[in-house]
Amino acid sequence: MTIAPPVVQTAPPSATSGGRSGSVTWMAWPALVAFVGFGVVPLIGVLLLSFTSWNRLSQDIPFTGLDSWRSVLSDPGLPHALWVTFLIMALSWLFQTPISLLLGVFIAAQKRYRSVLAVLFFVPLLLSQAAISITYKALLDPNFGLGAGLGWPFLQQDWLGDSTLALGVVVFVVSWQFIPFHTLIYQGGVRQIPASMYEAAQIDGAGRVRQFFSITLPQLKYTIITSSTLMVVGSLTFFDLIWVLTAGGPGDATRALAVDMYQRGFKADLMGPASAIAVILVLVGLALALGLRRLGGRDASSSQLEGV
């Protein structure tokens, strides 16, 4: 889990502050020091650890070269964990993006009841992931949960004990928590779109649906990329939610990379292989973040306002 910060931090820190003379660069120092201290140094530590066979107990850490990497890369558990991670990533993106886009557009309008709804939509994000997971776990319990209590046959399924359903539940709960956040991003994005464009469209006789597809959606291109980057990179680090809901189970159906790493490192005392997985996580996260950035084109991080 030491790898979470650097993934997120790689994009912003240095690039944006450039351009002006050296006199202001000292302002970047605190951020740089924090980034190096809490991001780069642990990252190097993890990289070094992946070439050892430390068991967390002994005070000397034996250097074993590529042994950990060999054992991780030859383990059929790794492709499975990668597959589960990508599945959760893709499904939760597919599930979250349309819903939060529509909700964001909906609550962007300046109407009082929509502001009230916006506050309500936001509540799930304020809850801790562990609390959410415990609640859902209790609600979905096959014997004492919602289904058994209400007697609704549809709800009386073995939600977390069936491989396919369990994965679906993880995606749903993740989405339930993070849709509010992305809704907020989209709301902000929609409010940046100049009203004059809609006025012009109305004069041309465009209806609401046409306006949405011809103005709102294209104008939100960079918001979609930002939101997707956060979703995709963030989904690599899902751990507590999966751990509490399913503990990677049933069997290994929801054993994502982060869960796999925790189990190897802290349950099986295999710090070397766990560190190797951590490095893989960082690399996958970097690749995804860069890929999405490229998708947005060169101007993705520059301001859009003047370009209207």
């Binding site: 889990m1 014997n143 004990g161 369990a166 751990w243 290994d252 925790y262």
Partner: protein, 439 residues
């Protein structure tokens, strides 16, 4: 997790501990203690019912001894395990290390982190001779004793709901054949034959521990423990793995068992609410049912018996598995004065007051002849049963995941989860377990 004590450890706490493990790895100032005066540090698990009893034992010791004192720090279960490993890795462990013996203790021994107590026990035969001989099993590594057994014995027993059996006019099974016979009958009444908190994985493991022992005797797992090549390919182990999958196919376990955690005590609730007829679980379940099950025990509805025999099996039916005790070791880097304090403390353990305390929580102290004290308890029937099972057992097997090294144990639990999920066959299970033998 749960089985180590009655402590209700919520999944949230577990997750919190998991997160805390990432950040809080700094050395602790509590670990050293005052080395000159012999103030020894002692870490143990917090929460009822164990904490007040452990604390009481320390308080009485500190009061009775003006010299070396004991300083206590308590932790929740999972937080403790992580903290202790980090502290050992940093050379900052407490003078007295509370633990479960077996594979965990062996890893401390391999890293020279705990003291060999064999000679001390030889010189203080009285300390050793008053305890259950079986409790020294998990404390013994390579023929040497590295820990002082303490607290209570916790065998795994077969609980059943008498009311369900009466209503269905059935008797609890005594053989595996009878188990397979009554499963469809209980299912027909819309009741689950067996309750199981399968997400916790070690709960499933208890079934295999008994099946292996009943079919092939303790030798089957001993071969694995001793690191013999391909030990899991023993016909007895393959038969045991097949039998359990047959039981799963016959819907022997409650629907959704693989999503039920033992931490939530839902498995016990299924039994006392009559949704399941039987449950194979640790003796600590009695305490949970008596605390949470209303008048279930008072109304005489809780039955308990030993694991059934298996047709054609060679294992002794008196054999049992579980926790033969808890264990205290002495940190090798503690000062001589601290070690002296610790050993004096060991001598004071399980005095009458402490024994009484454990008995009141529904535990059986690992003291020979301790059954005399059980008579005054309202739970005397159950406690006597546990005492008889534990003291008469020809062989008291340690839970596999605690007997093995953490690395092998994790692979084991992983494969058990897949076996119970029908993701792998018995032979696939054996094959992947054979690869981690001796690791």
């Amino acid at each position: 997790m749960k089985r180590r004590s009655f402590l209700t450890l919520s999944a949230g706490a577990a997750a919190g501990a998991a997160l805390a493990a990432c950040g809080s790895s700094g050395p602790s100032e509590t670990s050293g203690g005052d080395t000159a005066s012999g103030e020894a540090s002692y870490w143990f698990l917090s929460g009822p019912p164990g904490e007040p009893i452990r604390q009481g034992a320390v308080d009485r010791f500190n009061k009775a001894n003006s010299g070396g004192q004991i300083k206590v720090t308590t932790f929740q279960n999972d937080a403790y395990k992580d903290k202790l490993k980090t502290a050992l890795g940093a050379g900052q462990a407490p003078s007295i290390i509370w633990g479960w013996g077996g594979g965990g203790l062996k890893s401390y021994v391999d890293n020279d982190q705990v003291d060999d107590l064999t000679d001390w026990f030889a010189q203080n035969a009285a300390v050793k001779d008053r305890l259950f001989p079986a409790s020294f099993g998990p404390a013994t590594i390579n023929g040497k004793i590295y820990a002082m057994p303490c607290e209570t014995v916790q065998p795994i027993v077969m609980f059943y709901n008498k009311e369900v059996f009466d209503n269905l006019k059935l008797t609890p099974p005594t053989t595996w054949g009878e188990v397979m016979d009554i499963v469809p009958k209980i299912n027909a009444a819309n009741i689950a034959p067996f309750s199981l908190g399968g997400q916790s994985r070690w709960t499933n493991m208890m079934w295999l521990e008994f099946l292996f022992d009943r079919i092939g005797g303790p030798e089957v797992f001993q071969a694995v423990f001793d690191g013999q090549a391909n030990a899991w390919n023993n016909p007895a182990s393959l038969r045991g793995l097949t039998e359990i999958q047959n039981l799963i196919k016959a819907n022997g376990f409650v629907k959704g068992f693989s999503s039920i955690t033992a931490d939530s005590n839902a498995d016990q609730a299924l039994l006392y609410r009559g949704k399941a007829a039987m449950m194979l679980h640790g003796s600590w379940s009695y305490g949970i049912i008596s605390a949470e099950g209303g008048s279930f025990i008072k109304d005489g509805k809780l039955g308990y018996t030993s694991f059934p025999t298996v047709e054609g099996g060679t294992g002794d039916p008196s054999n049992t598995v579980g926790n033969a005790g808890q264990f205290l070791s002495i940190y090798s880097k503690a000062s001589d004065a601290q070690k002296e304090t610790a050993k004096n403390f060991f001598k004071s353990l399980l005095d009458d007051t402490e024994q009484q305390g454990w008995i009141e929580t529904g535990g059986v102290p690992i003291v020979k002849g301790g059954d005399a004290k059980l008579a005054s308890s309202p739970d005397k029937d159950f406690l006597n049963f546990i005492y008889q099972v534990s003291s008469n057992a020809k062989y008291f097997g340690q839970s596999w995941d605690q007997a093995l090294s953490p690395t092998a144990a994790e692979t084991l639990l992983d494969n058990i989860a897949k076996l119970f999920q029908m993701q792998i066959s018995p032979q696939q299970f054996a094959d992947s377990m054979n690869q981690v033998i001796g690791k």
